[in-house]
């Protein structure tokens, strides 16, 4: 597991006490004019002058010496992976660092709010009902610092569309600053039931922008229960229809657990008959974060137990020629017919393998586990293949 945030060991003389974003650089020959917003990764005695900030790590702190007046941060060694073009937020008064963008990550997701109008039983990022518009403001700053070559970035929450117009501005702003970067949005889709909002979204006219929308059951009582919000599915479906009427890309995301497994095949047939025009369907394993742990008894089902249902679900979606993926599963818990749809989907920073995986010949092809699964609950049927 890669640590993305935590306490710093020491922060020295940053101009502001408030959160500041820095782009990392290890290039001692960077032209002076480019050093103004960058933090230099210092690992040796030779420290180039003129960077906005310097970052070093616990085990280098004896080798590195800073001149007077230079602002620097000493981080625990677990942040030693930081690399050129990565973006971090340093909050001096809280002695805290957060890594917001990593060049090496295949997808970087920017969380722009912790507020949500759902309260999903298995939420990995439990919502908080407080004003956090500073996160949105920060996202505008962050977008400007992200390298132009980035292939894709994600926006998530909470529910990002709760910011309404400001959210659309962020998307437009992102299109301006990262014109070649695809955008993936995680949203419950309800905001798009408002045709004029959906139209304004479509008018951003982005070349590669997709909304990933969760649907957990074709029976709205069950979907509404899982997301803990009455009337949710009806509005989500209206949102999906509006987006597709406007030719926007939509992905349906189904998290599989004890509450959704029973209706999974009905849901797949429903998607095939009613939502044939969506661009992607992802069937996803459960992440052991946030509320999932509190509700584990009503959510947990061993993936090995539902592997035949998963095969049937994929077979239905594939028959309807829907582009289908299976996320967050281990190779030893799925049938062979899943392989063409199997994706190594777990973000690198929270991706690990279990002790049972030792000696597994398929480990390179396997998506492995969420770190949280290894801590809390994973299949009883893991074995080296």
């Amino acid at each position: 597991m890669i640590k993305l945030g935590g306490r710093v060991i020491q922060v020295h003389e940053i101009g502001s006490e408030r959160a500041t974003l820095f782009v990392m650089s290890s290039n001692p020959n960077l032209p002076q004019v480019l050093r103004a917003d960058k933090a230099f990764i210092a690992k040796s005695r030779a420290i180039p002058k003129g960077f906005a900030h310097y970052i070093t790590f616990e085990s280098f702190v004896d080798e590195v010496s800073f001149s007077e007046g230079e602002s620097f941060t000493v981080l625990p060694d677990e942040f030693n992976y930081l690399n050129d073009d990565d973006v971090v937020r340093i909050t001096p008064n809280k002695e805290h660092i957060r890594v917001l963008y990593r060049k090496k990550a295949t997808n970087n997701t920017i969380m722009i709010t912790e507020q949500c109008n759902h309260y999903c039983l298995m939420c990995s990022q439990p919502p908080k009902n407080q004003d956090d518009s500073y996160l949105l403001s920060e996202a505008f700053n962050l977008i400007k610092l992200i390298p132009k070559y980035t292939k894709e970035i994600g926006f998530s929450g909470g529910e990002p569309t709760l910011f309404g117009e400001r959210f659309l501005e962020l998307l437009d702003f992102t299109k301006s600053h990262l014109p070649q970067t695809g955008i993936h949005i995680l949203s419950n889709g309800r905001a798009f039931k408002d045709v004029s909002f959906a139209k304004r979204y479509a008018n951003i006219n982005h070349f590669d922008m997709m909304v990933g929308i969760p649907i957990y059951s074709s029976n709205s009582s069950i979907h509404d229960y899982i997301v803990q919000s009455a009337g949710a599915l009806d509005e989500t479906l209206a949102g999906v229809l509006n987006l597709k009427r406007l030719n926007q890309k939509v992905e349906i995301r189904v998290v599989i657990h004890k509450q959704s497994i029973e209706g999974l095949l009905d849901l797949c047939e429903f998607i095939g008959r009613n939502l044939l025009f969506v661009d992607h369907v992802a069937l996803m394993g459960l992440e052991m974060m946030g509320f999932t742990r509190a509700n584990l008894d009503s959510l947990w089902i061993d993936p090995y137990e539902y592997k035949d249902i998963l095969s049937d679900a994929v077979s239905i979606l594939n028959s309807y020629k829907l582009t289908t993926s299976v996320y967050n599963h281990q190779l030893c818990t799925v049938n062979k017919d899943i392989l063409p749809f199997y994706r190594k989907s777990i973000s690198d920073w929270k991706n690990e393998f279990a002790p049972e995986c030792d000696g597994c010949k398929s480990a390179n092809d396997c998506g492995g586990f969420f770190s949280s699964s290894l801590q809390h609950r994973y299949s009883d049927h893991i074995k080296a293949l």
Binding site: S218, S221, Y225, Q228, R273, N274, S315, Y320
Partner: protein
């Protein structure tokens, strides 16, 4: 107390569900079938049907979930079920706004075969009596390009259309030159036995991307007895022509249709094997139509619908077994019905749509200048029933023909959503109207459904397909694949 609410608190209004429109019928001894206007279906037991209608369903049952998922019921405040029903109905009917796509040109009635069941062909050297003229072809093309359809398919039929290949060339060249302005998605098909195919014809087909629709009735002996030529070599010529055409035009450019005669009835496996041997990916198990010589020579009466259904069912069993053994092969009539049953799409098969496909999906320009509402219509006319003769291409305008009472009455009176016994039939969403067939047999557009062999045949097939997939999950998977091809 948990901050999460129980399922029950999101299901408090579940028992206040409303019925959305559906039809039902007894399916077998145990169950009823319910269907809705977009073709969703469920098999349910009698007591569940009663509970459903009287709003006494167990709202925690899987059935309740399925009924909501398939839009048989909704909660009063829900909007999406109606939206989806409307969307799917629009999708299924969308072909209507496009209007006539298939335009059949009977370029000659002359033929080198003398098939006993054939409805129309002539053994004759007399070109002047049985060939379409250039003037007729020009007028027919005027008509074709009046169709608002963005996609236009011109199919050459006969007789053996290759006996008038000069006119085919003329029509293709003229149509393409008109299309440089009209800008339609223009495609050509030649329906031929392949007995007369040669390099010159194939070069022309290649150049103009013309597809070939051909006929194969089964193994050599069966094919040759169904399709006699003076030299008794129909099958041999077919196989040689098929290979040549595939080499030159591409494997997927040649399709084949079979005709079932009484000689075919106990040979379904051999017929399918012959399709397999010759590299086809499927077969269309077609019953003989009751037109023309088929009735005159009593061939049609030589077997009844019941016997044909046996033939079809055992063929389908064999095809399912083939697939189970890893050989991909499909039956095309089943496939198009399964598309209606299992998807929101409409296959657009002219003989199984409502409103009927006559005139508004397909239209025929005959060798003698007559315009017919369908291929079967001209065969009926050969027997003396000119009900579906819509006019003459040399003297009548597009409006005369398309707006003629002959066409509009037939369309309106046979429309299944208002036809007696069709409108309330649970299988109506999968069926179609066939005014030409019913007029041939019952002398009116509607026919008498209890006596209709069309009705009997299709109802049996619908039930059979549903029974097969409900009783075996592998068959359901196979059928879902066919439905979505």
């Amino acid at each position: 107390m948990s901050k999460f609410k129980e399922l029950e608190s999101y299901a408090t209004e579940d028992s206040s569900y409303e019925l959305l429109p559906f039809k039902f019928d007894r399916f077998n001894d145990e169950s009823y079938i319910i269907t809705n206007i977009v073709g969703e279906y469920l098999l349910i037991e009698h007591e569940d049907l009663e509970a459903l209608v009287h709003r006494k369903l167990d709202v925690t049952s899987r059935l309740y979930s399925q009924l909501r998922s398939k839009h048989f019921i909704r909660l009063p405040k829900e909007k999406s079920p109606i939206e989806f029903l409307a969307l799917k109905l629009r999708t299924k009917l969308s072909r209507l706004s496009q209007f006539t796509n298939l335009h059949i040109f009977v370029v000659t009635l002359r033929c080198d075969h003398s098939c006993p069941y054939c409805q129309v062909s002539r053994q004759s050297e007399d070109k002047s009596s049985f060939d379409m003229t250039r003037d007729m072809a020009d007028k027919s093309l005027d008509f074709v390009f009046r169709s608002p359809s963005p996609a236009i398919k011109i199919e050459f039929q006969g007789g053996e259309p290759l006996l008038n290949f000069e006119l085919i060339k003329y029509i293709v060249d003229s149509a393409e030159s008109r299309n440089r302005v009209a800008g339609r998605d223009l495609a050509f098909v030649i329906a031929t036995t392949l007995s007369l195919i040669n390099d010159e014809i194939l070069d022309f087909c290649k150049l103009h991307k013309i597809q070939i629709s051909t006929s194969l009735d089964g193994p050599e002996a069966l094919h040759n007895s169904n399709r006699p030529r003076p030299s008794k070599d129909s099958h041999q010529r077919f196989v040689a022509g098929l290979e040549k055409a595939r080499d030159r035009l591409g494997y997927d450019q040649i399709s084949a249709l079979m005709t079932t005669t009484e000689l075919s009835l106990d040979k379904v496996k051999e017929i399918i094997d012959e399709y397999l041997r010759l590299g086809f990916k499927g077969v269309f198990l077609r019953p003989l139509s009751p037109y023309g010589f088929a009735i005159k020579t009593k061939r049609f009466m030589a077997y009844n619908t019941e016997r044909w259904l046996q033939f079809y069912k055992s063929g389908l069993d064999y095809i399912i077994e083939l697939n189970r053994n890893g050989v991909e092969f499909s039956e095309y009539y089943s496939s198009l019905i399964l598309k209606k049953i299992l998807t929101a799409q409409e296959p657009g098969y002219v003989d199984l749509m409502s409103p009927a496909g006559i005139g508004i999906a397909a239209i025929v320009f005959n060798y003698d200048g007559k315009v017919y509402a369908s291929d079967e219509s001209r065969m009926l006319a050969e027997m003396g029933d000119r009900t579906f003769e819509l006019g003459n291409i040399l003297s009548d305008s597009y409006e005369d023909i398309i707006l003629s009472d002959k066409l509009l009455d037939a369309l309106e009176e046979s429309f299944t959503l208002s036809a007696p016994m069709c409108s309330e039939c649970a299988f109506e969403p999968y069926c179609g109207s066939e005014p030409v067939y019913h007029h041939a047999i019952h002398k009116d557009f509607l026919g008498r459904k209890p006596e209709s062999e069309f009705c009997k045949k299709n109802m049996s097939i619908f039930k059979h397909l549903i029974t097969l997939m409900e009783s075996n999950s592998d068959t359901k998977k196979l059928f879902l694949g066919w439905a979505n091809r």
